[in-house]
Amino acid sequence: MLNQVKGFSTTFRHLFQKPITQQYPEYKRPVYPRFRGRHQLHRHENGLEKCVGCSLCAAACPSDCIRVVPAENTPDNRVSAGERHARIYEINMARCIFCGYCELACPFDAITLGNDFELSEISRDALVYTKSMLLEKPALRTPSQAVDPYDVPSQEMERVLGMYDITTATNPEGAE
């Protein structure tokens, strides 16, 4: 009987507690530093693409979702720093399992997995990302500052990020 009373007092106490719900579209929870989201292709500082079209990422991909068609660089069409470049570079996001093997396989650090996880589309065709889409900077999903001081999960986030010597006040992109 006493246990029942305890149960009732527990639920009653919750009435006066602030809900722990994170209101998702308004508040986007920071992702962990090693989170693997949407891919990004990188460029050298001089603007040339890092990708040389070697297809090692496509070979490493367990779900076979990367398609690379290489082409020679010519003096009047120099796209990448090496001999060849990726004429077509497509990732089928509907198949991708975000394992990050492509990132590991790449000898030039040309492809990395970023923080963006909001990838839903209303058609499957839209999920095939082309090279130009992958070269664009993805939306930054880590808020630049803590949103809500009462937000317990974000405090937890601070603690976890502290282990990596990063705070939510800084941009984890810098850790790339």
Partner: protein, 328 residues
């Protein structure tokens, strides 16, 4: 009919509409409160504080396809939700919200209750029990095993708890010496019956939770066992009518508890209807609190509580009341 036909019709329409609105917003209150009990927000997307949620729900329900299962008994299948709904609203009709009121600016007076008979309590109990036909017919007519099991459970539960419920209420009747709600609430002018009839009140409350099919006694629609019970095969507005009937039953039983044990519409400073609403609200709050706290009982536990605990306690309460009324 204390006020003549026309005024009674007007009062009935007003009461039924207000009851439906009250029900609609009680679903919002319930979802909000359950949310807060569980440290989450509850509905907060439609309108400010999610206040448009009941209207959005209604809009969704109305858009649903009107489907009837092929093997169902068509006429009974269609009739069942109407039976449940009619009985739920009808049972509320006798609830008193005060004595005589005057329309401001005139000397026209009317009564704050639709009717008062010498057998009000019996009428409410009878109409309330009639509503269970809706559940049983609905369960049987949809020709689905889960619906049938849910309907049968509802009847078994009703029979078990109606006995204890009635015995608990008889204590109040003996003490007040009347079956009329007006007389019963007037008899509590000095002392609410919740104090002298405390045992009866406890039995009444547990039985009321069971009769309104609310957790922890919602075995008729235990989703883990019988999918959704008697309304498994219902969708759209027909389902909504079953849900409404169930919630209105809970409101009716809260009103009954307020009249029988908490003095009905009487109270200091505030007018009768406000007091009545406050007391109904208090009951509903406790019902929601119980829902947020207790897990569902097993069916054998349900029967054990009904026959081995509530019935003896209610009988004891009845005997004590009878002895006290005769010899004190």
């Amino acid at each position: 009919m204390v006020d003549g036909v026309i005024l009674t019709v007007i009062k009935s329409v007003v009461l039924a509409s207000v009851l439906m609105g009250f029900f609609a917003y009680m679903t919002w209150v319930e979802r909000k409160l359950i949310g807060r009990f569980q440290a989450r927000y509850g509905p907060n997307r439609v309108g400010p504080y999610g206040l448009m949620q009941p209207i959005a729900d209604l809009g969704k329900m109305l858009q649903k396809e009107n489907m009837i299962p092929e093997m169902a008994h068509r006429k009974l299948y269609i009739a069942a939700p109407f039976i449940a709904m009619t009985c739920a609203i009808g049972a509320f009709g006798l609830m008193p919200f005060g004595g005589v009121a005057t329309i401001p600016g005139t000397d026209w007076t009317f009564h704050l209750y639709i009717a008062d008979t010498s057998v009000s309590l019996l009428v409410v109990a009878a109409i309330g029990s009639l509503g269970f036909y809706g559940l049983m017919i609905g369960g049987w007519a949809s020709s689905s095993k889960y619906a049938l099991l849910g309907g049968m459970r509802a009847i078994a539960q009703l029979v078990s708890y109606e006995v204890a419920f009635t015995l608990a209420v008889i204590g109040v009747i003996i003490q007040a010496g009347s079956l009329s709600f007006i007389n019963i609430s007037n008899a509590q002018e000095h002392l609410w019956y919740v104090i002298p009839q405390f045992l009866g009140f406890l039995v009444f409350f547990v039985a009321a939770v069971a009769e309104s099919n609310r957790p922890p006694f919602d075995l008729t629609e235990a989703d883990g066992e019988v999918v959704a019970g008697y309304h498994t095969e219902y969708g759209g507005m027909r389902y909504a009518m079953f849900a409404a009937a169930e919630f209105i039953n809970a409101i009716t039983l809260s009103a009954l508890g307020a009249v029988l044990f908490l003095g009905g519409p009487s109270g200091p400073f505030l007018p009768g209807p406000i007091w009545m609403l406050l007391k109904i609200g208090a009951f509903l709050f406790v019902l929601i609190w119980i829902r947020a706290t207790l897990p569902r009982v097993r069916f054998d536990q349900l029967m054990k509580i009904g026959w081995k605990v509530l019935l003896p306690v209610a009988t004891l309460n009845l005997l004590l009341t009878a002895v006290a009324v005769v010899y004190l």
